[in-house]
């Protein structure tokens, strides 16, 4: 079952030492501390306190008048991937975004410039059971995808309900063409996985030296890992009925770890989500881009929070990711969340949803030194990120912000053709799903 993970060696990534002096330290888990220092040793937070002295050779950063907070975590992103959808069939649990991490995507640097230190690089939503996602640390500058892996983060996988997967089904004349078909497909696939697990368990417990192994399926291996709780499910969803449906399916199969992505109608089933222990990762105020997303409210995150649902606000966009702190601040207008509740939506809560809250999401002794520094309170409309650290290494500094951040450059590119706007900034969820074939190229109709 650990086939994928065992043999890939983890590259040694850079770890930094720094003393951040005299800032307003927003810890998330232990209040907000005025005139406080944060000492980072070897990539970890070593001490938080007053009047700390920099050990020999450790750089000091003066944060007087500035705000120091945990690095922002985006639980739904499609930057830094060379492919997003393997949407060619309805169950592709075997594919993994870890194979398509693109460390050269300049979107990584843009995210760092928005105080983001970790993203959840997700497979798209073209199919019911899409690929496995990859949790990354934004260690910009390396050309090796391995260097961006959030080492030790749990595996996660993308599921998708509703219009996206049924659109593909209907256009191709295959299951699923309706929400009923989606549910049937999920149940059938889990039942197949149970049969597969039984076959392999029987093989493993067979003591004969002349036993013959059953067929191996990386797809079913992954489904079994989901059943056994080793892979956290993040499900693209909008409507309350489909959200409730998936909780019933998961209850039937004994799967506990579940986060609903988008989940625009989650507020309608907030108590049910809380009872199940499911989380939600939502937009602040974005909807009406297709029929199933009409019934929405900007109070979604606040209602979920008030009902005890672990909630995060995500970007799903290379543009929104640059100002997730503004997105979080909207929950104070729509729902009166406290500063700490609002900031938890983009720090500790997404960390919990990704299973990395023991490492990041708050400023605590022993946690990773993934830190963002702002000139104003991060929930202020005037806030501008100043510096961003991952593992104590500074990857963004507004005072030293070169215009050309590209890592690889195509020598045959034209210089005049400067593209400032990112053309795919919304909904890369379906990117690559509408595959153009060669026949279509010359089809003039």
């Amino acid at each position: 079952m650990l086939f994928l993970c065992t043999s890939v060696l983890q590259a040694q990534t850079k770890k930094g030492d720094v003393l951040i002096k005299n800032g307003t330290v927003i810890t998330i888990t232990d209040g907000t501390l005025e005139n406080t220092d944060v000492l980072v040793r070897n990539g970890k937070i070593d001490r938080i306190g007053k009047n700390l002295k920099a050990p020999n050779g450790v750089e000091e950063v003066d944060a007087t008048g500035k705000f120091v907070m945990p690095g922002i975590i985006d639980a739904h992103s499609h930057i830094a991937g060379t492919s997003i959808n393997e949407g060619t069939s309805q169950v592709t649990a075997e594919v993994s975004m870890e194979d398509v991490v693109d460390p050269l995507d300049v979107g990584i640097y843009r995210a760092l410039a928005g105080g983001v230190t970790s993203i959840h690089l997700m497979h798209g939503s073209a199919n019911v059971i899409g690929g496995q996602n990859e949790t990354l640390k934004l260690r910009w500058g390396s050309t090796n995808p391995e260097d961006l892996r959030f080492e030790g983060a749990p595996r996660t996988i993308k599921f998708a309900l509703g219009e996206n997967p049924t659109r593909g089904g209907r256009s191709r004349g295959i299951q699923p063409q309706s929400r009923m078909g989606v549910e049937a497909m999920l149940r059938n696939t889990f039942n197949d996985a149970i049969k597969y697990r039984d076959a392999w368990n029987a093989y493993r417990s067979n003591k004969s030296s002349r036993k013959v192994a059953p067929e191996y399926s990386l797809r079913m291996e992954t489904m079994v890992d989901i059943l056994e709780g080793e892979v956290l499910v993040h499900c693209h969803s909008y409507r309350a009925d489909e959200i409730y449906m998936l909780m019933k399916v998961f209850s039937d199969f004994g799967i506990e770890k579940l986060t609903f992505q988008h989940a625009n109608e989650a507020y309608k089933v907030a108590p049910e989500l809380a009872e199940f222990g499911a989380s939600a990762s939502v937009f602040s105020d974005w909807w009406a881009y297709k029929l199933e997303v009409y019934y929405s409210t900007a109070y979604n995150a606040a209602i979920l929070t008030e009902n005890g649902v672990t909630t995060s606000i995500n970007s799903d966009s290379g543009e929104l990711i640059r100002h997730l702190f503004h997105e979080a601040a909207k929950t104070q207008k729509y729902g009166d969340l406290s500063d700490n509740e609002a900031l938890a939506l983009i720090t500790l809560n997404p960390a919990k949803q990704l299973g990395i809250d023991n490492r990041v999401g708050s400023l605590e002794k022993g946690k990773d030194a993934d830190i963002a520094i702002f000139d104003n309170h991060p929930l202020s409309i005037y806030a501008v990120p100043q510096m961003t650290f991952v593992d104590g290494v500074k990857y963004f500094d507004i005072e030293n912000d070169a215009a050309d951040q590209r890592i690889y450059i195509d020598p045959e590119s034209t210089v005049e053709d400067v593209q400032i706007l990112y053309s795919n900034d919304h909904d890369r969820c379906m990117e690559g799903a509408n595959v153009v074939n060669f026949t279509d190229l010359f089809n003039n109709k």
Binding site: E146, D404, E412
Partner: protein, 561 residues
Amino acid sequence: MKILRKTLFRLLFIIPLIGFTSNLKAQSDPTGESPATRTYAITNATIVQAPGKLMEEGTIVITDGLITAVGKNINIPATAEVIDGTDMFIYSGFIDGMSNTGAERPANPERPDNLFTPDPPNYYAGITPENQVIEQIKVDENSIEAMRKVGFTISHTVPYGRMLPGSGALILLRDADHPDKLILSEGSSLYSQFSGAPGAYPGNTLGIMAKFRDLYKNAELSKNHSELYASNPEGIARPTRDRVSEAFYPVIEKKQPIFYNASNSLEARRAMRLQKELGFNLVLGNLQEGWDLADEIKSTNTKVFMSLELPKEPKNSKEEDKSDEVKRLEERRMEFYKKYVSQYAELQKAGIKFGFSSIDARSSQLKDNLLTIIEHGLSEDQVLAALTTNSAELLGISKIAGTLDEGKIGNLIVSKGPYFEKKSQIKYVFVDGEKHEYDVKDGSKVKEGDETPATNLDAILGAWNYEFTTPQGTQTGKFIFTNESDILTGTMTSSDGTPDTDLQNISFLNGELSFDFSIDAGGQSVDIVVVGVVDGNNYEAEASVAAFNFTFPIQATKDEA
């Protein structure tokens, strides 16, 4: 006694057969095409026996396909055709580490009815590792002669296809009446690439990586099962025939490497990632972005054939009032051009012994590219080694090829002047001991200096009627080239009412016309590159659609204005 009788009985049949075949060879050749002798002697030449090992005024003798003598004061057999090698430089024939030379691209597979399943038919998904490249090899493929005339004599040819097209073979770039006669050895590689099936699984890198692991793991299980059954079938389920899995057996036994077509750095890292997980012997072919990979190549014990395709040297804007930002961007672009052309010297310095692969390069550009690589730090000897001894070693044929030593295959290049001088020309290429002669242009016709002769744009200005065939039928229209104050511009019109398209990157040099254009395919821009030769009023070209790893021919004729 019985056995002896049986043997005698067989011999009675075999002996006349042997007599018959040798008779055939002795028959006269009414076409007059077969050579009068298979013995050649080139005398008084500069012989580069191996990189850095040079003999002046030497003689080399080739007899019946093999090099039989190299040195000075050599007795020349009476039957030899003697070639005066004065002013000639002789090199061992070049070896191409990975190409499609000699293979003909098969027609696109038909779309099956059951396309949208988790496991579409293998022929469409591109999972055909059991195929062998010889099925695609055609003796009259143009690429054989195109590569031979620039000095290549052996090619590791891999099949066309998608994810796992099949196994490659080493072929001799000789003339023959049957593909079998080109084969030096088969099963040299299991060829793999990151090409998804259009609209079907695996559609892109995501699916390809997963499917590769799945296939490999099942092949291991299948191999164990077959061996268990072969040792004693009693009480064991009979293994079903599975040619896909069987194709992996030699890879699992490390008797056959996987050649991965990995042109960019991310693809190369993905191939090495699979290698680390699964443990097979990996060769990276067609590597174009290797400057950051030396450590990983070494730690995974990966062999490398670097691509002979180079980017065009960027041209900075001539505007005088260009902004500092434009200047900086141009500098960085140049910095990266240098990375591409200097990486060969860098990898050499890092201790990586590589050969070359021509798979993405055009034969007409190979020599220029080699000279560019030399200009950027790789020595001539090192380039020659990459073309000969390194490739031979990496492909496991050092005993028969790579140097000009007695006993090796008669593969050699006879060049008027040192090969790595820009103006030198190849006079003969010997493949398998057979002579191929080329016209050498008189020195006086080549202009002074190293510049290529100026191109007369008039040859292409005006309208050309093009025609090409796609799955949708034949497309026609015009390419119109105009000269706007010494800048060549072009437009493509279409007879079916599609709006006109501007042609980009138009280049016309030494009779070769190339350009590209993009078309809108349902919101997705697709680039098509056209490269071909202008001969009077005819233009024969090949168009390639990189996005689909697909090429098709285009013909055009010039309007008589």
